[in-house]
């Protein structure tokens, strides 16, 4: 087997976002073949020679794109279910959240990982190996005030990762969730740009700062590298201590 043949193939969804972008660069730097996918393919074209437009909420699109990826790269070793949204600023408390907005958050954050994983499982099962990394949130462990849809979706994402871990672990496929705290990304910038909100968030974090996308890419790269090969069903918290008190 040549060294080239052993390069892991990693698919990252939502690659144009903060964590997605940092992860793609990091995984490429570690010698992996990375497929960058995003709704907006133009924004990921420069990230990797392998890039695809992908709407994770559309079953037909997911199936078609994953088949194309498998055809082009031969296999997928790791799927990073990273695409996620917080919902509009209307998506607040349960009583105030518009129904369509709740559905949209769940469609991207929960149904998306389900569809993407489902499309790649047959090839991973045939290979007898594979790894699913789902980006959840500490909101999957503790509730974010006034963010009902997001909190609910991330709790579901953690348990989706665990469900995969127990059902497919015996087939050589591992699954873990990563639970970032507040990360400075385009998705969260509107909050962090308000000095009072930023100060409030920072006061909650024992380490005294919000995370940078690279902090999360570190964890994704560690899992993808296979250097944490006994982790299965874990919810790995990367939050500067936010949820520890």
């Amino acid at each position: 087997m040549t060294a080239e043949a052993r390069r892991p193939v990693v698919v990252v969804t939502g690659a144009a976002g903060g964590i997605g972008r940092a992860s793609v660069s990091r995984l490429i730097a570690e010698g992996m073949d990375v497929v960058a996918t995003d709704l907006d393919v133009e924004s990921v074209r420069s990230l990797s020679p392998h890039h695809f437009a992908l709407d994770v909420t559309d079953p037909d699109d997911v199936q078609r794109v994953m088949e194309q990826i498998l055809a082009r790269l031969g296999r997928v070793d790791v799927l990073v279910n990273n695409a996620g949204i917080t919902g509009s600023q209307e998506a607040t408390n349960a009583g105030e959240t518009p129904i369509e907005e709740f559905d949209r958050v769940m469609a991207v954050n929960v149904r998306g990982p389900f569809l993407c994983t489902r499309a790649l499982l047959p090839s991973m099962i045939a290979a007898g190996s594979g790894q699913i990394i789902t980006i959840a949130s500490v909101a999957g462990l503790i509730a974010f005030p006034g963010r009902c849809a997001y909190t609910t979706s991330k709790g579901a994402a953690v348990m989706f990762a665990r469900s995969l871990a127990i059902d497919y672990g015996p087939l050589g496929i591992r699954s873990n969730a990563i639970c970032p705290g507040m990360v400075e990304t385009p998705m969260t910038q509107w909050r962090l740009d308000q000095p009072d909100l930023r100060a409030k968030v920072e006061a909650m974090v024992p380490i005294g700062r919000v995370a940078q996308p690279d902090d999360i890419a570190d964890a994704i790269a560690l899992l993808a590298s296979g250097r944490m090969a006994y982790a299965n069903g874990s919810a790995i918290v990367i939050d500067g201590g936010w949820s520890s008190w």
Binding site: I142, A143, P145, S244, W245
Partner: protein, 257 residues
């Protein structure tokens, strides 16, 4: 209407004040014969007399839960007086302040002796009686400190974490023999035990410390002893017949944010 603990014998440690006292009074009203144990024998006697005066059954025992001989003697006295024990509420506990680098070794040991070893000694002494009866419910007092870090409370967090783990261990080992074991994880409850901690948190000002603490509670208040006694009653009763190994959080939402 029969009480929810009719015909049961309940032992409650640290029952001379606070949550233990409220639980003793509630358990007695629900039909249990209650053994009120406390290291402060006068406090235990006062609680026991109050329960008796209200027409319910109680006895007081001056017991240091860290002393195995005292624990065994107390358990033997309860069985002689009331019969086999159905419920043990390991409520006796103390706080211990200080971050890990300033916590005193003596305080650390004392915190573990009372909160952890006391729970172990009392459970060990009561289990044979529960086995004799073929059933039993052990309730251990953990804390939200078993789940999250409380600032400047290193020994207490560690000890309560140990109580939660001991509870799970007990539930696994004793469930096949008919004994359930669960823990309660209260948030901050306003009891005399908490006042030094609240005062310290407020920089010497109790009211300020109280306000700072309440800010962590979505429900907008600290717990009351009756909030916890109600949870203990549930775990003690047959309504919780399928509940074992649980750590029941009663914290006004404190650990949910």
């Amino acid at each position: 209407m029969p009480g929810r603990l009719e015909g049961k014998v309940a032992v409650i440690t640290g029952a001379g004040s606070g949550i233990g006292r409220a639980s003793a009074e509630l358990f007695a009203r629900e039909g249990a014969a209650v053994a009120v144990l406390d290291v402060n024998g006068d406090a235990a006697a006062e609680v026991s007399e109050g329960i008796s005066a209200a027409g319910h059954r109680a006895m007081a025992l001056s017991t240091d839960v860290t002393d195995d001989a005292q624990v065994r003697a107390a358990v033997a006295a309860v069985i002689a007086n009331f019969g086999d024990i159905a419920v043990l509420y390991n409520n006796a506990g103390i706080g211990s302040s200080g971050a890990v680098d300033v916590a005193e070794e003596d305080d650390w040991d004392r915190c573990f002796d009372i909160n952890v070893k006391g729970t172990y000694l009392c459970s060990r002494a009561v289990v044979p009686s529960m086995l004799q009866a073929g059933r039993g419910s052990i309730i251990n007092q953990a804390s939200v400190a078993a789940l999250v870090g409380i600032p400047n409370f290193a020994a207490y967090c560690a000890a309560k974490g140990a109580v939660a783990s001991l509870t799970r261990s007990m539930s696994v080992d004793l469930a096949p023999r008919g004994i359930r074991a669960n823990a309660i994880a209260p948030g901050t409850v306003y009891t005399p035990l908490m006042e030094p901690m609240l005062t310290a948190r407020g920089g010497g000002d109790l009211q300020k410390g109280l306000a700072m603490t309440i800010a962590k509670y979505p429900i907008g208040r600290l717990g009351d002893v009756t909030d916890i006694a109600g949870a203990a009653l549930y775990l003690a009763s047959d309504e919780a017949a399928f509940v074992t190994g649980s750590v029941l959080t009663i914290d006004g939402g404190m650990t949910s944010i």
